[in-house]
Amino acid sequence: MSSAPRTLAEKIWDAHVVRHAEGEPDLLFIDLHIVHEVTSPQAFDGLRAAGRKVRRPDLTIATEDHNVPTTGVTGPDTPLEGPGSPITDPVSRTQIAAMRANAAEFGLRLHPMGDAGQGIVHVIGPQLGLTQPGMTIVCGDSHTSTHGAFGAVAFGIGTSEVEHVLATQSLPQIKPKTMAINVEGALPDGVTAKDLILAIIGQIGTGGGQGYIVEYRGEAVRALSMEGRMTVCNMSIEAGARAGLVAPDETTFEYLKGRPNAPQGADWDAAVEYWKSLRTDDDAVFDNEVTIDATTLSPYVTWGTNPGQALPLASVVPAPTETKDPSGTERSLTYMGLTAGTRLKDIAVDTVFVGSCTNGRIEDLRAAAAVIDGRKVADGVRMLVVPGSMQVRAQAEAEGLNAVFTAAGAEWRSAGCSMCLGMNPDTLKPGERSASTSNRNFEGRQGKGGRTHLVSPAVAAATAVTGRLTAPADL
């Protein structure tokens, strides 16, 4: 263990090295492994074929999120098949059935469709208090970077690595470089965590963070709520960084205190004492540093087919020659059906989606509800509100947010990944255009031929009201 000044990511990394050998990746211990139905079945098959067990079921938790429908889920007795089953796609059903069989066979805790604890992998970890500072967290999903908001090293892995973690509770990893993104000054009123991360990705590009763990620092980051920090860390992968994190502070401790899996009593005190040591040393050196001036930011929106193609909502669709990748821009504009010079505020949408692991938490629903309260979804526009977990849904209902949404004409759904990636029936039709609080505007992401503009929950709600990309301030 070195005594030289270290960054936060390096401290967490060093504390988890099971084995270090020159010329080999470090073997890292994994504190928490979250499993879902899409990227795990082949991993469990691998365990069976080799006669292996899950090494630490007590550090593993599973849920069903990618495939589950967001209508017709009636509670714990929701049937998987037969009359009353909300799942119409037999292949989706097979995948969920496999998750259930694997969880039973290998002794894993599972929150299935209909369970009060069910939700998106990256929403349920934090809500249970399972996501804590200083931990290593993995999941077969690229948005695992979300958990970095708590000051954890959290990253997405593929199915071979899922199998490896199930079998060994560890992972061989080459230590990434570290990057600081310093967000100086305060975000102006009406500018959210989503606008901040879209601005960051717009500046450094989809590969700008490649090979790094990013630490988000500075006044604007410190001022963010845990939900806001999760939104920022969530999209680290869209800048190419496998992980992003924020040093834990009182905001973090306050969020965790009293959650079901947070430490209690003397353990809480010991934990907080350790968590307070989790900060980058003053004289530590990052391999790369980027500075963002928060005071210049405004609501952001994407215009193209990757999250780096983002601009302030007040701007116009760029011409290919004005961008770093003219042929890529040309392809994006053709796919999006947009012409250079069009004002982003003039782009009309058919669908508004509020939800996902990026923006499906309670604060996101409150932000959207505050904008749409007393207003109506525009004629011809469909608005889906999909809570990130059944617990978020219950809390929103206790606060009356569901009534605000339904009074405005929006659809109030149950929890899942939903239209973020359209593995369940919530999809765009070819040519349809959405304003979406999710994380990816890739071609066909929300349904084949669908066109996606990434926005914050507040912009999504304002857009639903006018039917065009709109900031709340312009209502």
């Binding site: 073997l27 805790r109 593929g158 071979s160 490649q210 090979g211 353990d267």
Partner: protein, 201 residues
């Protein structure tokens, strides 16, 4: 996985940047619970266009994909790697890869090769020439060799890959088996973990 030492074949030029894993294999194809058969979903949306490069008969049987910057960004789906392998690809050459895609590739036996943008462009030109270039991706020598395809001179471009990953790929070794040789160290580490850390059951 199948060992990778050296591979010779023809290349498919994919002149696109930011090819995310949603394009390589769309989400609707991720519902299978087995590892095979994903080739039919490879670039499914793009393959509907008869002019798409994979639909051109001249590239039939090519085994090396040569793509633009930031190939394999986005989703962690290893299905993208399985789809490329199932379709018949053994290596992908690009100026930069998405991190998770690159890791997944080395776990499943698909070799990701990072070459400078200018060299990638030269190889794409040579792959489009008639007759097309022959490529050899030599992991042992950590070099890509390109001959023919109208090149003014043959290419022998070195690439970087860490020693450990190279060895594992060349031997076709299963990572889990390698890690389990150190199971005693994992057990020892487990005894040192603080009691305040959470458990799920």
């Amino acid at each position: 996985m199948e060992p990778f030492v050296t591979h010779t074949g023809r290349a498919v030029p994919l002149r696109r940047t930011n090819v995310d894993t949603d394009q390589i294999i769309p989400a609707v194809y991720l519902k299978r619970v087995s590892r095979d058969g994903f080739g039919e979903g490879l670039f499914a949306a793009w393959r509907e266009d008869p002019a798409f490069v994979l639909n051109q008969p001249r590239y039939e049987g090519a085994t090396i994909l040569v793509a633009g910057r930031d190939f394999g960004t986005g989703s962690s789906r290893e299905h993208a790697v399985w789809a490329l392998l199932d379709y018949g690809f053994r290596a992908v050459i690009a100026p930069r890869f998405g991190d998770i895609f690159r890791t997944n590739s080395t776990k499943a036996g698909l070799l990701p090769v990072v070459l400078p943008e200018k060299v990638v462009a030269l190889i794409q030109d040579a792959a489009e020439a008639e007759p097309p270039a022959q490529l050899t991706v030599d992991l042992d020598a950590r070099t890509v060799y390109v001959t023919g395809g109208g090149l003014a001179q043959d290419i022998a471009e070195p690439f970087q890959i860490d020693d450990y990953t190279r060895w594992r790929l060349m031997e076709g070794l299963d990572d889990i088996g390698l890690t389990l040789r150190h199971e005693d160290l994992i057990s020892a580490f487990e005894t040192t973990r603080p009691s305040f850390l959470p458990t799920t059951i």
